[in-house]
Symmetry: C2
Subunit: 222 residues, 2 copies
């Protein structure tokens, strides 16, 4: 039983890899470089986690063409990253248009070619500030696309087990699975010390705090 | 009005670019290298056609990761290309798993980032020997994915105008639009003289013949 698991190296996708492993799958992990600022750090986290989770393969894939289309502060380094704020309206400028459809399509190609039965993606709809490609409807629509767009004898299930979980739930689950969070990376902005103020840092840090724990990652003092 | 147009450099996608132009769109063409054997020839056809059709941009995108997953004779050069035969059953081994979902996802990312309104893809369901990602249901499912997976204010239509046309219809349309078929390339096998026996050659050549015309491309003698 093979599962293809999207592994950025962040908190959620690392927990995901451990979860898929725990469910009895052999893991092929895919890591994507799409020109995000902190790719070097993310990649090194992904390698560490893939190794520790016992993945059979970590395929590193270059999607730098997404950079060429522009439109996101994650990939256009001239734009400033939106900081988290309670009053932020609309979709943060870190949104990379239709990114998850790209990632899931690649994962499905891999799963069909390698006779895998499952694709795992770590999106969650609660904290994610309205990215359209993180919504439950999006995952449902993608499952339908896989059903009609692969061979009739192919059956691939798209699992997004964190869809309705929040970061606290994920950390709680991850701790029970032994996820080494000190080796994961979430910050959108920095590669040495996490910035603490981008959306990714905000949600991660406050989730640890709300569990009465300290995030094992070092943060920049402000 | 911007349209993103998938342009392999073959007969169908070249006709497609001319059709989108004729409908009044400004064209951004995307060409993909996914390790297919005849990529060099296809790329040079795509450049020529993009120029002649007046495209504003031709973005060449490397998808060689599809090669690394294997499973197709188009990208695994140790496998022999299936020749066309009336008695062939099932899906030919030139099928690249879930390829069109990859191509359409990229095109949609490009369209959303560039504020385009349309994506054109030249799939047809008739001649294509049952590739699952060339079926009308696949295009419908992809349109639904775009509707839920892009910003609410984004409206992108997926056009597959050749879905229910055959190659004859396409050539007839293309001739009325002035498509220079001598600059297009379809063969899956060769880059100098078209082989004449792979599925792509078979369908192309017989379409010209059935219109009482000669394909302007040179074919290998057998």
């Amino acid at each position: 039983m093979i599962a293809v698991c999207l592994l950025s190296g962040g908190m959620d996708s690392s927990t995901l890899a451990y979860l898929a492993k725990d469910r009895g799958y052999r893991l092929i992990c895919l890591h994507f470089n799409y020109g995000q600022r902190t790719e070097k750090k993310e990649r090194s986290s992904a390698r560490m986690i893939a190794g520790l989770a016992g993945a059979e393969e970590l395929v590193e894939i270059d999607l730098s063409y997404l950079t060429r289309f522009g439109g996101s502060s994650l990939t256009d380094h001239r734009m400033q990253i939106d900081q988290y704020s309670d009053t932020t309206e609309g979709i943060p400028n870190t949104y990379v248009p239709f990114r998850n459809a790209n990632l899931l399509s690649i994962a499905t190609s891999c799963a069909e070619a390698r006779k895998g039965e499952a694709v795992f993606i770590g999106v969650q709809s609660q904290d994610y500030s309205g990215y359209p490609d993180c919504r439950p409807q999006f995952i449902d629509a993608f499952q339908e696309l896989v059903n009609v767009g692969t061979r009739d004898e192919t059956t691939i299930r798209i699992y997004a087990p964190f869809l309705s979980m929040n970061k606290q739930d994920i950390i709680r689950l991850g701790l029970s699975l032994g996820v080494p969070y000190e080796h994961t990376w979430s910050c959108y902005q920095n590669e040495e010390l996490a910035c603490g103020v981008c959306g990714a840092c905000h949600f991660r840090r406050s989730a640890f705090e709300s569990l009465g724990m300290k995030d094992p990652l070092p943060y920049e003092e402000r």
